[in-house]
């Protein structure tokens, strides 16, 4: 299981780096999708198959499709890539990268101190997650459903047609 974890984590990290550095928006999105799929494999290896499946269905399969859809509609051509090239100057990325590198270095002693095994202890299947969601976390579930309802009403309001448009 350790090998699966490290290989898919490495894929996720490399894919995310590529997603940041690609100039073409669709290529960047494709790398981001690969990164999400790699994260799903990591979750699967850690003993959370249900969450892994949801990661693929919801993040990779629905949310990212909408991103791709919007980029397709905008149909950014070579001028957009040129703009990206000008935005991504070394002075813009060296600072944040150095700070992130410090955080990464801090993680190394933490990893060295732990047992080194990353395999999940118990498998979390769908029924366990359901019991947890509708047991101790029921308030959070209700609150997030309210938030989604508000989003739905808002989207309906923005998307509705006025009377003169219909006429």
């Amino acid at each position: 299981m350790n090998t699966v974890f490290y290989v898919s984590s490495a894929v996720a990290v490399v894919a995310t780096l590529m997603a940041i550095s690609r100039l073409n928006a669709v290529h960047a999105l494709l790398y981001l999708i690969v990164s999400l799929l790699a994260a799903a494999v990591v979750l699967f290896g850690l003993g959370a198959p249900f969450v892994a499946a949801l990661e693929v269905i919801i993040y990779a399969g629905a949310i990212m499709v909408l991103f791709v859809f919007v980029v397709m509609l905008l149909n950014l051509g070579p001028p957009a890539a040129e703009l990206e090239r000008r935005l991504l100057t070394p002075s813009a990325w060296i600072g944040p990268s150095l700070l992130a590198l410090i955080l990464l270095l801090e993680l190394i002693p933490v990893f060295a101190a732990s047992s080194g095994s990353v395999g999940g202890s118990a498998v979390m299947d769908a029924s366990k997650i359901g019991v947890a969601l509708f047991g101790p976390y029921v308030l959070a579930v209700e609150l997030s459903s309210l938030l989604l309802l508000a989003g739905l009403v808002g989207a309906y309001h923005l998307g509705r047609r006025t009377l003169e448009e219909q006429g």
Partner: protein, 317 residues
């Protein structure tokens, strides 16, 4: 035989069977369509025109594999492969018989839904990378259609999951020993089958490739082997939806007298025939009709089904 050898044999056998069925379906579909539309269909090459498939294969394999100079080359090449891979991967979780199954995942059904949601990318990317307005319009339609119908398809399956108490397809089949789920879940069956038609982009849901307005939609720039991959994926997709409908609603391999595999194939082929009959019988709707049919009829229906199933399960406890 060692377990590894058995599983390799199962994987190779399933793949071989699938490609045979998918390429055979090209001939079956054309003959059946011809029968229902009062024509002959392909009947010249070999007995009953059976070798038509071979002729088509030779033609498509020897055709120039052309990539338009204005296309985004890497994405253009990878798009048909994505469709092929995810459609074939979905078959990994289907239990053909108690012994023939590639992997018995406890999230089998979710795995299928994940793979079918990934297949949207193939169509979207094919349309975008072709850099052609007809292709782009086709893939925009496809994305809207597939995202919407995936919602009803997923929701319709939850009733089955609630009755069987598992996401694993093997458990779902075994839960149907007394009664096939097509009886208590008849609403879900209808919604799932219509959703499956939309996911495979078959008539009446073939708006993404509507010939009379979009030439061929998202695969208008594809030719040769890459086009063949889209074409074959459609037939593998039909087989997938039929096999899954059989597994979820018609008791999978269950049945008297005949061996399990025969039952499974028999039921699957009846459903494939239904797919072809629908193509022969129905016209194509307008895009707004497609969307309002989905969101205003299918979604309430499937939610009602879920509510009734939940209520029934609660009352029976």
């Amino acid at each position: 035989m060692s377990p590894t050898a058995t599983s390799v044999l199962v994987v190779v056998g399933v793949l071989f069977g699938l490609f045979t069925i998918a390429s055979g379906l090209i001939w079956v579909e054309r003959r059946l369509l011809a029968l229902w539309q009062d024509r002959y269909g392909p009947n010249r090459v070999g007995p009953f025109g059976l070798l038509q498939v071979v002729a088509d294969m030779i033609k498509i394999l020897s055709k120039e594999d052309w990539i338009p100079p204005f296309a985004d080359k890497p994405v253009f090449v990878i798009a048909p492969a994505i469709l092929m891979v995810v459609t074939l991967l979905s078959f990994a979780v289907i239990p053909f018989t108690p012994l023939i199954q590639v992997v018995d995942l406890n999230i089998g059904l979710l795995f299928f839904l994940g793979m079918s949601s990934l297949s949207v990318y193939s169509v979207a990317l094919a349309g975008w990378s072709s850099n052609n307005k007809y292709a782009l319009l086709g893939s925009m339609r496809a994305v809207g259609q597939m995202l919407s119908y995936e919602v009803f398809m997923g929701l319709s399956l939850m009733g089955v999951v609630a009755l069987a108490g598992s996401f694993g397809l093997r458990e779902i089949v075994e839960a149907q020993k007394t009664l096939w789920f097509c009886v208590p879940q008849c609403l879900a069956l209808v919604v799932f089958f219509i959703g499956g038609l939309a996911e495979t982009r078959r008539i009446p849901f073939d708006l993404p490739e509507a010939e009379n307005e979009l030439v061929a939609g998202y695969h208008v720039e594809y030719s040769g082997m890459k086009f063949a991959m889209f074409f074959l994926s459609e037939y593998i997709g039909i087989t997938l939806i039929s096999a899954l409908t059989v597994t979820l609603f018609f008791g999978g391999w269950l049945g008297p007298w005949l061996p399990p595999l025969v039952w499974f194939l028999l039921k699957t082929f009846i459903l494939i025939g239904l797919f072809i009959l629908i193509r022969a019988a129905l016209p194509r709707p307008r895009y707004d009709q497609l969307m309002s049919f989905g969101w205003k009829l299918m979604l309430p229906l499937v939610l009602l089904n879920l509510l009734a199933t939940g209520g029934w399960l609660l009352a029976m406890r």
